[in-house]
Symmetry: C2
Subunit: 124 residues, 2 copies
Amino acid sequence: MSKHELVVLGQEPSAPACCPGLLAAPLDEEQAGELARVFKALGDPVRLRLLSMIASRAGGEVCVCDLTPAFDLSQPTISHHLKLLRQAGLIDSERRGTWVYYRLLPEMTDRLAGVLTRPAGSAS
Amino acid sequence: MSKHELVVLGQEPSAPACCPGLLAAPLDEEQAGELARVFKALGDPVRLRLLSMIASRAGGEVCVCDLTPAFDLSQPTISHHLKLLRQAGLIDSERRGTWVYYRLLPEMTDRLAGVLTRPAGSAS
């Protein structure tokens, strides 16, 4: 684990209190910039696989040592992808002993699901 | 409107019949690659604003001539962003006379909302 990995532990972007629906009204520039940052973090196959591995794990958290063997990528590359997911507010991490453990922050995926949901009463 | 704009009209990627939940089980490489392409299309503030303008328009479609004035960007740049949204299966377009009209493909946003929704019975 790199020193850099330690430095960013515990960082969590603040989520706005409110969740403007993407489909209900035009987003303003600030809302669009903030949401785009999270969608961009999801716009990579390795990060999506990592997120799904973390989110679907029974017990709710995964050791980085259980994530890296699933990929034909170096550990620093995996750590970089995990850092981007964490900076986007999608996962959190905690170091315990030798390893870092990751867990889903379901508030952010809930928020994204909400902004992608059609407003009530819209045509189907 | 460029010739290029005409060439890609009517292209729609085929959506898979099934919608694996991102949070329910690890995605395989193919599923992750396909979903990442759509999330990547959403990972840009201009494209998110365009999508929200199209999706929230009463009547269900928007002339490109009503989209460009909202941005301090050239029309070819706006057309490029619209092309990426269309290639991701998020919007469709139709040329009528001088202008191209865009509408949301809600099947894709529904699908994304579905993959980001927690499986029933998961801890809150």
